[in-house]
């Protein structure tokens, strides 16, 4: 058990990122993702996963075809469930980059915890099981339906694949899931409960049922041109676009990372979380502002010290207007000058995985001192009174960044990340 008696909380352990893995519509290599972001190239397209002819919406952000299958083949795995497959691939990249494992097996057991956030878990396995049930009856259900459908199939699969013997579990809080997972991982390490955590999120939900459910809730953009459909903070925004994806970070102590000579990609400085406790889908300024303030306090920062905000920015009317007010409420006049980016116009809304995708893009931006353009923001909404980045990449000050994540159920999570110092 690590010693956390005398130094906590006066000098808690610093938590750094030593590995990252990402899979989204822009690609599965961080350099490719970054190039596409800087080029203003959206990954949203017409859905290939299944025939959407009978649906209202026909677009989404899918990981380019064949990439995940190719990586699984290298791992000698067959596709099992999209969310698990995505989670395993990004875990492999993050662990390799952190130099916790060699690229190729055999791998030995090591004490690393696995925490993934997911909005819908093993959606594909659920769809397959329900289809069988209704077509052929209960006796036809595949015997491995339980291990395929349980939510922690994602973290368990990652833990088994790479022989990670720390705790493994999944955090479920809609679009806030990955933020909760990362925040929990950060606290586990800072407070001495774990030395290394592989954390992030995964959601793979392009199946006929799940996509149908989202078609009918009325928050998806009806704009048919994929590149123009998702318009965060624009006056003419019409809704969000779904995008599958996963991401993972290796977090560990600064001391441990330095001792083993790992490359440090950034630091986790603070985390705040709260609940609106008011409405199942309508966000609240008070709840979100509370999480933002908590995160700043946790990091010991003043609003004016934040160099970049990566917004939740779903491009729904309600989210963007509320988030703008929340940021204003929590940060005051400092919000006049902090540049705000929103990435969902590039790789859609990855629900439970959105927080990790956007934390990775935030870390990439901090490393480079540049933020990518915001797409489709020709007409910023006056109700979204923030310093929104325009249609060109922008240089940013060296300093910490804030990543907002807000989910249905009134779940709010805010992470403060900093550049390597």
């Amino acid at each position: 058990m690590p010693d956390r008696s005398s130094s906590y909380p006066a000098s808690p352990r610093r938590v750094v990122v030593t590995g990252m893995g990402i899979a989204c519509a822009l690609g599965i290599e961080e350099t490719v993702v970054w190039q596409n972001l800087m080029a203003g190239k959206s990954g949203i397209g017409h859905l290939r996963a299944f025939d959407t002819a009978s649906y209202k919406i026909h677009i989404g952000a899918e990981v380019p075809e064949g990439l995940i299958k190719g990586k699984l083949k290298e791992l000698r795995r067959r596709p099992i469930d999209r969310a698990l497959d995505l989670a395993v691939v990004v875990a492999w990249d993050a662990l390799t980059q952190a130099r916790l494992i060699a690229r190729k097996p055999p791998w030995s057991e090591q004490d690393v915890a696995v925490l993934y956030g997911t909005g819908v878990g093993s959606a594909q396995s659920h769809f397959n099981a329900f289809s069988t049930f209704f077509e052929k009856g209960p006796r036809s259900l595949r015997p491995t339906t339980v291990p395929r459908c349980m939510y922690n199939a994602i973290s368990a699969g990652v833990s088994m694949q790479f022989k990670l013997t720390g705790s493994n579990y999944v955090v479920v809080s809609a679009c806030n899931s990955a933020a909760n997972a990362m925040g929990t991982a950060f606290r586990m390490i800072r407070d001495g409960y774990a030395e290394k955590v592989l954390c992030g999120g995964s959601d793979g939900f392009f199946d006929p049922f799940f996509f149908g459910v989202w078609n009918n809730i009325g928050v998806l953009s009806p704009i048919e041109d994929p590149a123009k459909a998702c318009r965060p903070f624009a006056e003419d925004r019409r809704g969000t676009v779904l995008g599958e994806g996963a991401g993972a970070l290796v977090m560990e102590t600064l001391q441990g990372a330095t001792a083993r000579g790992a490359d440090i990609r950034g630091e986790i400085l603070g985390y705040g979380e709260s609940s609106d406790a008011s409405h199942i889908t309508r966000p609240s300024v008070e709840g979100q502002a509370k999480a933002i303030r908590m995160a700043l306090d946790d990091a010991g920062l003043q609003p004016g010290e934040i160099a970049l905000i990566n917004a939740h920015g779903t491009a729904t009317h309600s989210n963007d207007a509320t988030e703008s007010k929340s940021v204003r409420t929590a940060l005051g006049s400092a919000a006049d000058r902090i540049p705000v980016m929103a990435n969902k116009s590039y790789f859609g809304h990855a629900l439970g995985a959105s927080g990790i995708l956007e934390t990775i893009t935030t870390l990439l931006a901090l490393e480079r001192g540049m933020a990518p353009p915001n797409l489709n923001l020709e007409n910023p909404d006056p109700a979204c009174n923030l310093n929104l980045i325009g249609n060109k990449p922008t240089s940013i000050d060296r300093g910490p960044a804030m990543k907002n994540s807000f989910g249905f159920g009134g779940a709010n999570g805010v992470l403060i990340v900093g550049p390597t110092t």
């Binding site: 083949k73 000698r76 795995r77 067959r78 099992i80 036809s140 595949r142 015997p143 491995t144 291990p147």
Partner: protein, 85 residues
């Protein structure tokens, strides 16, 4: 149809079933009637799925004990033929 070609057919069908339902890439380099379940690298969960897929594809219900008690794929094919595949 003589019994031997039918056994071969079932051996091939078993490979097809395992290729599509296994959760990991199995080793097919020396696949044949002499292959043991262990040599293919099937774990206990994959065997459960194999039983399921055999029933769906060939209409023969096998129990896990049946798989455990056969020595290799060839014996499994014979067992399936005995049960009416």
């Amino acid at each position: 149809m003589s019994e031997k070609p039918k056994a071969d057919l079932i051996v091939e069908k078993l490979r097809e079933i395992m290729e599509t339902s296994a959760t990991e890439e199995l080793d097919w380099s020396n696949y044949g009637p002499q292959s043991t379940i262990e040599s293919l690298g099937l774990d206990s969960l994959t065997i459960l799925d194999l039983l399921y897929d055999v029933e769906q594809e060939l209409g023969v219900h096998l129990e896990a004990i049946d798989i455990v008690s056969v020595g290799n794929i060839g014996e499994m094919a014979s067992l399936l033929i005995d049960r009416g595949a």
